[in-house]
Amino acid sequence: MNPDLTVNIGRLTMQNPVMPASGCFGYGEEYAPFFDLSRLGAIVVKGTTAEPCSGNHPVRLAETPAGLLNAIGLQNPGVKAAREKIRELAHCGVPVIVNVAGHSAEDYLRVIDFLEEEEEAAAYEVNISCPNVSAGGMAFGTEPCVVESLVGNLRRSTKKTLIVKLSPNVTDITEIARAAESAGADAVSLINTLLGMAIDTATRRPVLANITGGLSGPAIKPVALRMVWQVSSAVKIPVIGMGGITGARDALEFLLAGASAVAIGAANFTNPMVCPETVDGIADYLSENGFESVSRIVGLAKESLRPVTGGVCGCGKK
């Protein structure tokens, strides 16, 4: 029997827990030559702002050990043009999650207002965690009270599934997650990129024109996994886990740590087939290990640590 891979995030039902992460899959069209996009659980599109945004000066990329620094800086055609692309993408039969970005609370509201009547925008992922824009972005994501007020405003403006994307560049991510939850978020997604940089010893200058950039890729997986573990214990709403996933084994680590679904970012660049391969790999794992649904393994690595009470043995620790 095929395991049940369905996942619910707020009002959104996904046929499987795997989606490409924001900013790493364009509007889908670039990867359509490689596989049938309808195999995805959902697609998260690039950070969308109210007005078109040209992004940062190049150089925007730097390779790092098992990772990638980027300082794209929210280049996007603005919500109006993005809507056309979202409509086209929705034709593929996959739910589109719109990553919403802005430089002020007002900005976020404008994007949501514009898309609210669009059926094709299935859910919003509010990016309060982009490290690559000077105003807004990450600045919103590091203070619980700011998060609570921003998310509260957005909640009042939309009936759609509202996902809040958290920054890892904080002392205590659970605090921010709880603020998002109490303001009415349907889910949180994490992590966005870690703030990093690289220097070219030949030119003796930072590699990125923006000086700093966001670190993604396998290098950050241990940090991402730890945060998913912590946050999924701190909030009751679903967690979408991401950070360094390159295949089913990584994705399973996130699910076992407490994520209800996963997103894949940088790995699309090295392997355009990584998303469908991950879907298949998760299904195989569930079958091989006798789980009838993916929901059965969400957070399972925590269960095993619970001391067996009143039972045969102790907790294994002296």
Partner: protein
């Protein structure tokens, strides 16, 4: 349509100091000026693929010509015939072919890689091919023997005068432009391309330049590889990987 393909290395030869030619066992049906993203390691480090131009493609299989400069290309250089490589391609727009009966191709250093395939294609389309090749010194002037029959003219230039014209290849370019303004195709260091576009503009010759940029996806999804372009009204960023790597000269240099 780009594909991801595992191919096997048929030949892998050092053809000039640090420059290697790799012949693969399959074709990707690329046009001249397109490129591939090649995976240099089966592990997670180096993390990204490396963009390399199509040096030739067809029945003989895909051919790459590259300089082992950094960590990734040095790892690639260690591969042996029989080893497999993972190729994503063909990518990018490629060189446009105009109606003009002749063309000047200006190569700088390893920029020769994509121009060889262009030379063959232009010749086979019945055009005259003037091939100008500049490098720092003689031993960097590698041009495959199989290409020379396709060239109407082959002129070389070196910075140190160790072969051909002593000075920048754009000085040679000027001599040929004086004989008639035909499209000029260039690939090489940015300084050379800028000079090439400037010189060609004086003769009202159309230019096409193939650019380099740091890339992640290679397919247009990450917006990482952009270059500033000066079209119509003001500046805008275009992606080297899908909007390029070939741009018309005036679009990117001014």
């Amino acid at each position: 349509m780009p594909q991801m393909k595992v191919m096997y290395i048929k030949e892998h030869t050092l053809v000039a100091p640090d420059i290697r030619r790799m012949v693969l066992d399959d074709s990707i049906y690329a046009r001249p000026g397109q490129f591939v993203q090649i995976s240099v390691s089966p592990t997670l480090d180096p993390f990204l693929r490396r963009p390399l131009s199509v040096h030739d493609d067809g029945e003989g299989g895909l051919v790459l010509l590259y300089r082992a400069s950094g960590r990734g290309t040095r790892l690639l250089a260690e591969k042996k015939p029989g080893d497999s490589v993972d190729i994503l391609g063909p990518l990018g727009n490629g060189f446009p072919v105009t109606d003009a009966p002749a063309a000047i191709l200006v190569a700088g250093g390893i920029g020769v890689a994509p121009l060889c395939y262009l030379a063959r294609t232009l010749c086979e389309a019945g055009k005259q091919v003037i091939f100008l090749f500049g490098a720092q010194k003689a031993d960097q002037l590698y041009i495959p023997k199989a290409i020379t029959p396709f060239l109407t003219v082959l002129e070389t230039a070196t910075d140190d005068g160790s072969a051909g014209h002593h000075g920048p290849v754009t000085e040679v370019l000027e001599q040929f432009l004086q004989k008639g303004a035909v499209p000029v195709y260039g690939c090489g260091p940015e300084g050379m391309l800028r000079a090439m576009v400037r010189v060609a503009a004086q003769y009202y010759a159309q230019t096409y330049v193939s650019l380099e940029a740091r890339m992640a996806c290679g397919v247009g999804a990450c917006l990482g590889c952009v270059v500033e372009t000066f079209q119509n009204s003001g500046e805008a960023y275009q992606r080297v990987c899908v909007d390029g790597p070939v741009f018309s000269g005036e679009e990117v240099f001014r």
